[in-house]
Assembly symmetry: C2
């Protein structure tokens, strides 16, 4: 279990241990990332980069069933990735904030999906 590396490694290990965020904090960041990390949900988010959309427009853009999309929307909403407002019969969804937008752009940056 011992490591004969240079001193710098041991220091890095100690710093890492000392600075490791709590389980709770790690869990929060993971929950946010995980909400983004599923194809069906990522597609919804990519669609919303064009601007706010009501549910049937989202379904048009990403495909899938009404129920399925609605379930994914709930997960995204619960994780504050998107926000909803009612407009008559429709519920209109949009990206929650600039932080989410930035995450999306960075995630796509190394692909050619620069739309």
């Amino acid at each position: 279990m011992d490591c004969n590396h240079e001193e710098e490694h041991r220091f890095a290990a100690e710093r890492a241990k000392k600075n490791m965020p709590s389980e709770e904090e790690v869990g929060e960041v993971c929950a946010e990332l995980k909400a983004i990390s599923e194809p069906s949900r990522l597609k919804i988010l990519l669609a919303l980069r064009q601007g706010e959309l009501c549910v049937n427009h989202i379904i048009e853009a990403v495909g899938g069933t009404q129920s399925g999309v609605s379930h994914q929307l709930r997960i995204l909403r619960d994780n504050r990735i998107i926000k909803a407002r009612r407009d008559g019969q429709n519920i209109v969804y949009s990206l929650a904030d600039a932080h989410v937008t930035a995450l999306l752009e960075l995630a796509c940056a190394h692909l050619n999906c620069e739309f």
Copy 2:
């Protein structure tokens, strides 16, 4: 199934559909994000922000079993989130590139884990 919203919504829906990346592209981005989005793996990545670490140092920093950590390391390596080099008996891991570092920083940005 029809939506009586303003014109701008319909345009957004059409743009979204037209610009939606392929299933394959979406899958690639998701795979990368998903690799980051598990507590055990995120902790490994946070530890590696301090600099390269060999496996037993990683175990020290994040906790868990040798086997468990090794399995997570493989997933991170397969997804090119981290890279490995051998140094004698040890394998030394580090973050793969600046893109990963940027993703991590952004993911943590809205928490207080600014270490």
